[in-house]
Amino acid sequence: MKQYILQRLASGLIVLLGISIFSFALIHLIPGDPIRIMLGENATAEQVHALREQLGLNQPLVTQYFQYLANVLQGDLGTSFKTGRPVLSEILERFPATVKLAASGMFLAICIGITMGVLAARFKDTFIDFSAMSIATLGVSVPSFWLGILLIMLFTVKLGWLPIAGGTGFRDLILPAVTLGVLASTVISRLTRAGMVEVLSFDYIRTARAKGLGEGAVLFIHAFRNAMIPVVTIIGLQIASLLGGTVIIERVFDWPGLGSLAISSIASRDFPLVQGIILFIGVIFVLVNMLVDIVYSLIDPRIEVGQTKEGTS
């Protein structure tokens, strides 16, 4: 287990190195000059030159990259071009809001998704199955900003029940979390249904039923656990991507998380901040994926961590 975690950490570092090179290249290659954006168009050529030198942007890209990498390894993600504050504190200031939204959204998604999936599988080919899967299909097809705006129109503008753009309190959280939860639940319910349908056709389930176990016990003790592996994978991936900030939903609901920070920093060509956010999200992905693999072994003792290839393929 320990060796496995170390292995995963090592490969995670390589992934992060790749991410850092890729994000660095990308942000420097898209057109738009941060110096001009920062100084404004009244700036003289001397001012532009001086600031470029001060920020090290006159160095060759490769030099700039290694300088950046050296700083990152010392825990310094740089300072934001726009606000002049440390990138890490900008990110950490926004991260709690994103975690709050991601956690509540995922909680809803899991509740809705698993309930619908299990019901659909148990009542396969009935009206319940059909309805649940129709909703799931609809949910996959609906763009998040559309659902978000629809919910705002109904619950904020028409009914006046819930606030919008009011901060990050509980009442402010409901609409974005529901939007997120409903959309994320669709994949979970489909995968749960597929897994459950397969497992429910196995002989041991027939045996369990034959020995007179209640339907609840059959479903949740015998079948559910075995149907969960793919579901856990997808939940893990979803959590990781939600923690990176859900750009669209944060924007529609004016939620001050990592997603809205990412958008505004791209717009102002705030190189250090954009790179910092991408790297931060990369770290989260690597860590969450590792956790997911560990969770496999807890769900299915046959899977030993370190041999996940055989176990999960």
């Binding site: 898209i30 920062m38 009244n42 606000t83 904020t156 924007r251 001050p256 958008i263 717009a267």
Partner: protein, 561 residues
């Protein structure tokens, strides 16, 4: 000077974002940014309290919440270049002189009086003595001198504040009430700049020293509102300055503000901004676009505050580095081939005025006769001009000269500009000129335009003084400034310098009359339109004023609760 912030659409309509370059404006009607800067006195909604509420007495208390798209980078007004920072910081400050919203005349404010020496280079201001900073220190002529010295100090790298004072050689305060500005040369726009409570407001040096690096996020001024807190990514709030007894004379309220708090809430998404207004989460929505405004006009619960932008909202810059545009006939032909009226109707629902010259009606120096001599939509004349310039139609129906067909690139960005560029493309195709639209994100567009590698680009500007044309058309601005058209014309240079150094108002007006005429003749630009800008105020907030050059004013505002 009130440069605008501009924004543009990044990822289609979902994400509008703002940048902070002073002056030029990206998207002409973005649901965000800084509409409140700009307007023609003639089209400005009255600053009077509406008749229906005229007999209501203002009440104390409550919070006024303003929804705005952009968050400033900081509120150290010397160090920021963002227009939104200026708008927000204007609540913390006060100006040396003020400008009457109706007559646009300059009047005393923090300066009780002022004198200009005969050569126009020494300006002496008599400063009032009853004003205090939020930190309790007294404001004197010396504080203002120190403030301007800070703005002029290269180490501060003051952006707009520095450029507004760029013609000032030195500042001194001989005693607590006498402030003297020594200018390099007479500079006409100076009073305009000094009337802005944002960029050139007095700052407390004591507060700046004490706060150090943190000053950018805990500013101190002499204005009606005191800084309370900044919630990153969400809002900036102010509380009433209880001691405030030195209100700008243009307001009815001469004491502290009525409301307890003033809050700016940052809402980047247009739909969300409107939903927040509809549901009462915010009281005032800034920068509502023309297509959304109609429903608020008919609803008694809302009041629409509109004004004409302080600058051309949309014009085409022709790049005279390119041989094709060194020919004035070709430039004039394009001016006559483009139907401005049609573009304005399609792109901004007709909510604006068609432009024929380089200045909009909302700016000083605009001369109405431009409507008579401006180049109007005349397809036949456009074709005749091209033919006169030596172009002939080829087999594909395109004009060509020396075997080279007339094909031009047009830089644009997404949003309303993209619609405008498609219309321009179709109109020019009609006369036999092929246009290739190049859509760039705003920062990239400015980058490309600065480098000069384009044929034509769309552009817009906001500034409350016609001296803006110096920045756009003077030869000194051709290589690294805003003179993207690369105009290097002696007569133009001479006129523009005369415009900024002629302090006498009537004489200055004549200069710009001539500037306007000359720019139309030379046709370096194709002016298209200047749009109205909209803000929507929701009841129970009453008494929100509008200044044609400063935008919304909150000092007479109160919450009718």
């Amino acid at each position: 000077m009130v440069p605008t912030a501009y924004l543009k659409k990044l990822f289609s309509t979902a994400t509008m974002v703002s940048l902070s370059m002073a002056l030029i404006a990206g998207c002409s009607t973005p649901p965000a940014s800084s509409p409140p800067e700009g307007s023609a006195p003639s089209t400005t909604t009255s600053t009077e309290t509406p008749a229906a509420t005229a007999d209501l007495q203002p009440k104390k208390g409550g919070t006024i919440t303003i929804g705005i798209a952009n968050e400033p980078d900081q509120l150290d007004i010397h160090k920021t270049g963002m227009a939104v920072a200026n708008q927000i910081a204007g609540n913390l400050g006060a100006s040396l002189v003020t400008q009457d919203p109706d007559t646009l005349e300059f009047k005393p404010y923090l300066a009780e009086s002022w004198q200009v020496s005969e050569d126009g280079k020494t300006w002496t201001f008599k400063i009032r003595t009853d004003v205090k900073f939020h930190d309790g220190t007294a404001m004197t002529a010396k504080s203002i001198a120190e403030t301007y010295q800070r703005a002029l100090n290269p180490e501060t790298a003051a952006k707009v504040a520095g450029s507004n004072l760029s013609e000032v050689e030195s500042v001194e305060a001989s005693d607590d009430t006498t402030l003297v500005l020594h200018l390099k040369q007479p500079f006409a726009p100076l009073l305009q700049f000094l009337s802005d409570p944002g960029w050139l407001q007095p700052l407390s040096m004591q507060a700046i020293e004490q706060a150090g690096d943190k000053y950018a996020r805990q500013p101190v001024g002499v204005g009606p509102w005191k800084f309370e807190k900044w919630e990153n990514g969400q809002s900036i709030s102010f509380t009433r300055n209880e001691e405030f007894a030195w209100a700008d004379p243009i307001f009815k309220n001469q004491g502290a503000p009525y409301a307890d708090r003033l809050v700016y809430r940052f809402i980047a998404e247009n739909q969300t901004l409107l939903a927040a207004l509809d549901s009462g989460s915010i009281d005032i929505a800034r920068g509502v676009v023309a297509k959304d405004v109609a429903k608020y006009r008919d609803n008694p619960q809302f009041e629409v505050k509109e004004m004409l932008r302080n600058g051309l909202g949309l014009f085409v810059m022709l790049n005279t580095r390119k041989p094709v545009f060194q020919d004035v006939e070709v430039r004039q032909a394009l001016n006559k081939a483009i139907n401005k009226e049609a573009i304005m109707k399609a792109v901004i629902q007709g909510e604006g005025v068609v432009s024929y010259g380089p200045l909009p009606p909302s700016l000083f120096g605009y001369d109405e006769s431009v409507k008579d001599y401006g180049l109007t939509y005349q397809v036949d004349e456009a074709k005749a001009l091209l033919e006169k310039a030596g172009y002939t139609k080829n087999a594909q129906g395109l004009y060509e000269k020396d075997g080279k067909p007339l094909k031009l690139d047009l830089l644009t960005q997404t949003g309303t500009w993209a619609q405008a560029s498609q219309l321009i493309q179709a109109m020019l195709k009609d006369i036999g000129v092929e246009v290739n639209i190049v859509t760039l994100e705003w920062g990239a567009l400015v980058d490309t335009a600065t480098k000069g590698s384009f044929d034509m680009t769309l552009m817009g500007y906001t500034l409350n003084d016609p001296d803006v044309l110096y920045l756009f058309l003077h030869s000194s601005q051709a290589d690294s400034g805003l003179n993207f058209s690369y105009v290097k014309d002696e007569k133009m240079d001479e006129l523009l310098v005369k415009g900024r150094t002629t302090v006498d108002s009537a004489a200055r007006k004549d200069v710009y009359k001539e500037v306007q005429k000359y720019v139309v003749e030379q046709a370096w630009w194709v002016p298209i339109y200047t749009e109205k800008q909209f803000n929507v105020v929701r009841k129970p907030v009453e008494g929100v004023g509008i200044h044609p050059l400063r935008g919304l004013m909150y000092h007479d505002s109160w919450v009718n609760q």
